[in-house]
């Protein structure tokens, strides 16, 4: 039953690679799923050690890769869609690559969770990261995604959830599902996100306006409903005393695991990703000290704070695709010292979301770091430039160019040594091509 779909996928993968058109992380599975509709289900039945799922708007790829690093480091044989291809096609591709693995760690697109779980069956563990506005034209609004998750999870009595306690909508889904839940969260005494656009403003239970004692990222914070008592639950795993030094985030971990978290990537969002990975690997039996060591050595995948260098110029690339992620990226950039050039590559292809209104919900006015040179590119480069101009970037610092290569050339002409490239999803491919012959730097 599985040999044919697997061979099909492998043949397609070879064809894609030979044609040089991509990484072959989606197309092989797409063809296999189309020709053999039962492939995912039959392969999933053979995962005798079970399945773990990571989903949410932001942080799926990094969280799953952090967890995969710890699992592989602990000697586990796993199948994992590490490149962020998180639709049914990407999952089938991953299955076809490692047919013998008995355990799967899958990041799954937040909008296809119900459909994916119907095919794959109930997972052992599901990590629910967050729900932010993203691609409203494709996904609809966050309330609808939450309802889909709840329908998919309700009644999965053998599934453990690992849920972000700081997100009211995620918390609501976890509590309503009836599943056993491990809650994680961060402690930020004095959150500064009061002016940020929030996607969950009213109580998921009773629709009263939520009250926050501190709010640190979109709707993430210490919330409470004044009317029905719905509130941020106690955290089983928490990160406090967050700092970023030289672009490396650190925090102290308390609760089910006690220890010091050290990362090579910056920012609050990466602390969340690490918490999700820690809770997940602990649930899967990895020793916490081993997991913390693995996190300290974690190297980002391409496009998630990855760093390349050529001569004395360093380029760091981070995917941005929604307001919460962009806010967090800009905040993290402000923590990085030194002069910088910023390149925003805004595409409006289907996989990016055709609707680019989200860039106007980014808190540019508050968070944009000082930069001598700000370049825009992509299919909507002029709208991005207008956004940046309205946020106060002076005309003399702002330029729009036709390609990523042209942006890098311009940055070099202006003597920029440190360039931050912030592409949307489909722009990441162009960025990958433009940086193909640059040296990858370990962080």
């Amino acid at each position: 039953m599985e040999l044919l779909p697997r061979l099909t996928a492998r043949c397609v993968a070879t064809a894609v690679r030979l044609s040089g058109t991509g990484q072959a992380s989606s197309m092989p599975g797409k063809v296999a799923n189309a020709l053999f509709p039962g492939y995912l289900a039959s392969h999933a039945r053979r995962l005798s050690a079970g399945l773990a799922v990571v989903t949410g708007t932001n942080g799926k790829t990094t969280t799953a890769n952090m967890a995969a690093g710890a699992l592989i480091g602990a000697g586990r044989d796993i199948v994992h869609n590490s490149e962020g291809a998180n639709l049914l096609s990407g999952i089938a591709t991953a299955f076809s690559r490692r047919p013998a693995a008995r355990f799967a760690l899958l990041e799954i697109d937040e909008a296809i969770v119900p459909e994916a779980l119907t095919r794959l069956g109930g997972p052992r563990v599901v990590v629910l990261m967050n729900l932010f506005r993203d691609q409203l034209d494709r996904y609809g609004e966050v309330d609808r995604l939450a309802a889909g998750w709840l329908a998919a999870l309700r009644g999965l009595t053998a599934t453990t959830l690992i849920a972000n306690a700081d997100d009211p909508l995620v918390t609501w889904v976890a509590q309503e599902s009836g599943c056993e839940t491990v809650f994680f969260g961060v402690e930020v005494r004095d959150g500064h996100a009061d002016h940020e656009v929030s996607d969950v403003t009213i109580c998921p239970r009773c629709a009263t306006m939520l009250a926050y004692s501190s709010r640190w990222l979109s709707q993430l914070g210490d919330y409470r409903c004044p009317s029905c008592g719905f509130a941020r639950p106690p955290r089983d795993l928490a990160a406090g005393a967050l700092t970023t030094v030289e672009g490396h985030a650190e925090a102290s971990i308390t609760g089910d695991i006690a220890g010091r978290l050290r990362l090579r990537v910056p920012g609050l969002h990466n602390v969340y990703n690490a918490l999700g990975a820690l809770a997940l690997t602990q649930r899967l039996g990895v020793d916490p000290a081993t997991a913390l060591e693995s996190l300290a050595a974690y190297q980002p995948v391409f496009g998630r704070w990855s760093l390349v260098r050529r001569g004395d110029t360093a380029v760091q690339v981070n995917l941005v695709k929604n307001p919460a992620g962009m806010n967090q990226t800009l905040r993290a950039l402000r923590e990085v010292p030194g002069e910088k050039a910023l390149v925003f590559v805004l595409n409006d292809n289907i996989a990016d979301g055709r609707d680019i209104s989200w860039i106007w919900d980014v808190d540019m006015e508050e968070l944009l770091p000082a930069a001598d040179l700000v370049i825009t590119s992509g299919t909507r480069k002029h709208e991005m430039a207008l956004r940046l101009s309205y946020a106060g970037v002076p005309d003399e610092a702002l330029t729009s160019v036709d390609s990523v290569v042209a942006a890098l050339r311009l940055a070099a002409e202006r003597g920029a040594r440190r360039v931050y490239l912030l592409p949307t999803y489909t722009a990441l491919k162009e960025v990958r091509g433009a940086l193909a012959d640059w040296e990858v730097v370990r962080q």
Partner: protein, 276 residues
């Protein structure tokens, strides 16, 4: 040199900024504030949230789009504000509404199950939820706007570009459409109308956000509001960057239209519980 006269200012109200804030509506405020500042005019924004008392006097009211659940809460609260809002309109103030705001200004909204939600009745229009099997109206829009009300621009057509995403179909009574769609669906995908206007009440389905890249509409609203504030006529101001963004959006929309012509309409079906 000290100017003893107060700088001209526009008193503006943003209705429900915390809850009705999807689809980049912040950009609309940014555009109004920015383009007013180019003329040395300050826009004094006041947020009016659910349950808040509105100010006695105001020149401009803005209302954006929201998720389904908050839209219901907004509809209930708006009933309370109806006398105030209708006073603003009678006094010659400007009301600008986007998407859900357009629907809420109308007479009624008829849900898929036939139940009715009363609107404010400040625009003569009504909205019908998408029927089972009807598609959600999503995509880039280009519309021609002839002679925007009160602009003195008679006979001159303006381009309006943005992004629509709505399940509800709006049909106009006495209200006039704001524009005629060249690309996209508009109010209902049938009659070619986009948005609605009556006097100084202007409403559109377009997000995008609509004001930053349609500088003429921003200026039109500012001109009306400044007039109401007694600040005289709005001076001209440059709009090169805005026009570049508009042309880019128009090009994208026209490319979409050319593609749709070959492949049919790329809009998915509405699902249960989806916003309007």
């Amino acid at each position: 040199m000290t100017d003893t006269r107060a700088a001209p200012g526009i008193a503006a109200v943003h209705l429900y900024p915390t809850t009705m804030n999807t689809y980049g509506d912040r950009g609309n405020m940014a555009a109004l504030t920015r383009r007013a500042a180019l003329r040395g005019v300050a826009v004094h924004w006041q947020a009016v949230e659910l349950g808040d008392e509105p100010p006695a006097r105001c020149d401009l009211v803005f209302m954006g789009g929201g998720q389904d659940r908050v839209q219901q809460a907004a509809a209930a609260d708006l009933a309370r504000l109806r006398p105030w809002l209708s006073g603003v309109i009678d006094d010659g103030g400007v009301v600008f509404a986007v998407c859900a705001g357009l629907q809420l200004l109308g007479r009624r909204y008829v849900a898929a199950d036939g139940s009715e939600l009363s609107g404010l009745g400040l625009l003569d229009l009504e909205t019908l939820a998408a029927r089972p099997g009807e598609w959600r109206l999503i995509g880039n829009v280009v519309a021609d706007v002839a002679d925007p009300a009160g602009s003195g621009d008679s006979g001159r057509s303006r381009l309006l570009v943005g992004f629509e995403n709505h399940g509800g179909r709006t049909f106009l009574g006495a209200a006039r459409p704001l524009g005629r769609v060249r690309v996209g669906f508009g109010n209902n995908g049938r009659d070619g109308g986009e948005g609605a206007q009556a006097g100084r009440v202007i409403a559109t389905y377009l997000h995008g956000p609509v004001l930053p890249k349609n500088a003429w509409l921003t200026d039109h609203l500012l001109g009306l509001a400044l007039d109401h504030a007694g600040g005289g006529a709005l001076a001209p101001a440059a709009h090169a960057r805005e026009d570049l963004a508009q042309r880019e959006a128009v090009a994208v929309a026209e490319r979409d239209a050319a593609r749709r012509g070959r492949r049919g309409r790329g809009v998915r079906r509405p699902r249960a519980g989806e916003a309007r």
